[in-house]
């Protein structure tokens, strides 16, 4: 795995170099680094602190403030379940129970087989299709418990 780590290290270096002279770029750096690893490994945060001369405590403070940043790895499929007002009124709680029944995971948890992670999110902005969820880059709207079970089954079989 060392060649992959070296590749990733090089990518992180490149990202930092891109932003080194742009003040206020820590969020952009963390966003691009998270694209590489799918989360923010602690040692990488320390590397960023070293190279940018921003204190580790400050970087950790920013990483833990914003919901987009994850300090733990996620599953192959990230389920973003919308809990916005329209989705709530149109039954997002039932969808959440279905996911709990089918995958045995709650908000913030990953299935044991590492396939699915569930994150409740505040609003995806697709309110006319409520209830809505996004799995990786795909948006699924007009959800019913049955439809959700089908979608999860399909992804499991892939």
């Amino acid at each position: 795995m060392s060649c992959c780590c070296n590749d990733n290290n090089a990518k992180v270096e490149e990202i930092i170099k891109k932003y080194i002279n742009k003040p206020g770029s820590i969020i952009s750096i963390l966003q691009e680094v998270q694209e590489i690893y799918n989360y923010l490994p602690k040692d990488v945060l320390n590397t960023i602190a070293e190279k940018t001369k921003i204190k580790p405590a400050k970087i950790y403070g920013v990483a833990t403030f914003y919901k987009q940043f994850r300090l733990n790895p996620i599953g192959k499929y990230l389920i973003l379940l919308c809990q916005g007002t329209a989705c709530h009124v149109n039954g997002s709680k039932k969808i959440e129970s279905t996911i709990l029944d089918d995958l045995k995971i709650k908000d913030g948890e990953t299935t044991e087989d590492g396939l699915f992670t569930l994150n409740n999110v505040a609003c995806l902005g697709c309110c006319s299709l409520s209830p809505v969820m996004m799995i990786n880059d795909e948006t699924y709207g007009n959800l019913t418990p049955e439809a959700v079970t089908e979608i999860l089954k399909e992804l499991k079989s892939q």
Partner: protein, 582 residues
């Protein structure tokens, strides 16, 4: 014959990309060279995916709820001169568009947002040209003052005033910031404008920049809007290529450029000082005002921050005159407002109406009324900062002051419609759950106060409400409003206070009678089998996960309250509706 397909995020979520790809395939297979373009969301989300055929005379054939398997027939019908009747839009639907007055949304669903030339064919960049070639900074601000446009992000502050203060603060470096951190759950007006007409934002920012003397702009877009970011970046690149952005805009001394800064998931960053902190790479924690951003904003320089919808109106105001804008709407609420109509509404989506339209008109004449022809119980305006307007007040006009009088706020435009299956106590708890999680933590009133309010509301919805809870919520709510630094804390109690104001009885039923009239709060529901309806199929017993249902020797099925966890599965599976919930 030009063909356009609605490709906003919700259109794509409804399957429009597949439809677009299929049309492309079919055209290639036919060897046809018809122009095929993506357009933004026209706002009729309940009809997505939508495709439109436009002939040389401008006649349109609009097809709705199109799926990729229907494309071949629809395309053949049109190209062979015999348009299909199936899926064609009904005139009642197009009439709804005519009830609207589209200024901010004028290009959405009409032009290809990824083609700057289409924007320019619709008076694009004419307004900034007029400003830099014919108007002084004071004259531009003067026109905005005549329009009296007020901030569309929710605060409703007069836009000209902010521009004027920023203009008068002398500094070599100033900034224009566009607040595209549309965090209100249930609101997607700004997303649609960014996806459907990004150049309107660029031009609006350029005009603001010219007016205040700024040469740099930042658009802060929430991370949850990836398509908006892509389309806006494309628009910026195209504007730079045509030298509309950069030095010597339209051969003047004015130079302007802008960049995008993505948010990272924090509702509080919609507050202007928290937004500035976030651009500066800090935790998004609001700062005390004064000094106001117009004096000391981004990097301590004079900064003007405007909402997406506000900026989208600016080019129209310059092109048509402030008076033309002020002539629409009401005395102190001029122009139009875009609403995201969602919830229990039949025809949900985006609508833009003149100020002064009644809520009833928006919900019934444009929104088609309530699903299943039920009665409207209330409508939530302003998201987590707002309040609910009960059905008796639906004749309230869309007007900043009129809505504030009801206890709600205009807000950014989220309008969530509710019926009798919505529990108002549960809605209050829902909003508090949101604001409590999103509190940045700086002010103890907000940080702890919202948590305590949430605890009380949770107790009430779980059957553990106590006499005095309502008064405690009111007391806490007022305290949090007074003790919070920013708009998040100052408005977090609003949904609770407004539901107590109009639905106090519903709270009392939860606390004293331990019942939930809307049948939503599971802990307060009792499930009983109606013996005269029961057909003894046993489905309820087989599906009960806690063995709370038993069958006696006479095949009488009973639900045991002490074991029942009120999951509702027996109610869902019963084929004859023999399970009573109350």
């Amino acid at each position: 014959m030009k063909i356009v397909v609605g490709l906003g995020s919700c259109g794509i979520a409804a399957g429009a990309q597949k439809v677009y790809d299929e049309i492309k395939n079919q055209l290639e297979a036919r060897g046809a060279n018809n122009q095929l373009e993506p357009v933004g969301c026209v706002g009729m989300c309940y009809l997505e995916p939508i495709i439109e055929f436009i002939d040389e005379d401008g006649k349109k054939y609009t097809y709705t709820k199109v799926t990729s398997d229907k494309v071949a027939d629809i395309l053949s019908g049109i190209l062979d001169g015999q348009p299909l009747e199936d899926n064609i839009i009904e005139s009642a639907e197009t009439n709804k568009l005519s009830k609207q007055k589209r200024i901010a949304l004028k290009n959405c669903g009409v032009i290809n947002p990824e083609n700057i030339h289409e924007y320019m064919e619709h008076n694009g960049y004419e307004a900034i040209k007029k400003c830099v070639q014919e108007m002084t900074q004071e004259e531009v601000i003067g026109e905005i003052k005549i329009s009296n446009i007020r901030g569309r992000g929710g605060a409703g502050f007069p836009t000209w005033f902010k521009w004027n203060v920023a203009m008068n603060n002398k500094n070599d470096q100033k900034y224009i910031v566009c607040n595209a951190d549309e965090g209100d759950p249930g609101a997607f007006m700004d997303r649609s404008i960014l996806e459907g007409d990004p150049h309107a934002i660029i031009e609006g920012m350029m005009i603001a920049g010219y007016a205040i003397g700024a040469q740099e702009g930042v658009v802060y877009v929430r991370a949850e809007y990836p398509l908006a970011i892509v389309r806006l970046q494309k628009a910026i690149d195209q504007a730079r290529e045509l030298k509309l952005l950069g030095s010597n805009v339209f051969d003047s001394n004015f130079r302007f450029d802008l960049k995008i800064k993505a948010g990272a998931g924090a509702f509080v960053c919609g507050e202007e000082t928290a937004l500035i902190a976030s651009i500066e790479g800090e935790r998004g924690m609001p700062r005390i005002k004064p000094p106001f951003p117009a004096e000391k904003g981004l990097w301590q320089k004079p900064t003007n921050i405007n909402n997406v919808e506000t900026l989208a109106n600016i080019p129209w105001i310059i092109n048509n005159g402030g008076k033309a804008f002020a002539d629409i709407g009401m005395a102190n609420s001029q122009g139009t407002k875009v609403f995201a109509l969602t919830g229990k509404i039949k025809d949900g989506g985006l609508v833009e109406v003149p100020m002064g339209t009644s809520l009833r008109e928006v919900i019934y004449e444009i929104g088609g009324g309530i699903r299943d022809n039920k009665e409207c119980k209330a409508v939530q305006l302003g998201g987590p900062s707002g309040g609910c307007v009960p059905k008796d007040l639906l004749d309230t006009l869309v007007d900043y002051e009129a809505i504030t009088k009801t206890g709600a706020i205009m807000g950014s435009g989220g309008m969530v419609v509710m019926d009798d299956t919505t529990c108002m106590v549960d809605m209050a708890k829902f909003f508090l759950d949101f604001t409590c999680k999103e509190s940045c933590g700086k002010c103890i009133h907000c940080r702890l106060g919202t948590k305590r309010m949430l605890e009380i509301l949770t107790r009430i919805t779980e059957g553990d409400g106590q006499p005095g809870d309502i008064e405690l919520l009111e007391d806490l709510g007022n305290g949090i409003k007074e003790g919070s630094l920013c708009g998040l804390g100052q408005t977090a109690p609003n949904p609770v206070l407004s539901t107590i104001k109009y639905f106090r009885e519903e709270y009392e039923k939860h606390i004293i009678d331990k019942t939930c009239p809307a049948k939503q709060c599971k802990a307060l529901l009792t499930y009983t089998i109606l013996q005269d309806k029961c057909i003894k199929c046993g489905k309820c017993l087989r599906n009960c996960s806690v063995e709370a249902i038993t069958k006696d020797d006479n095949k009488v099925f009973t639900i045991h309250k002490d074991k029942c966890i009120q999951c509702g599965v027996c109610f869902d599976v019963c084929p004859v509706e023999a399970v009573l919930v109350n």
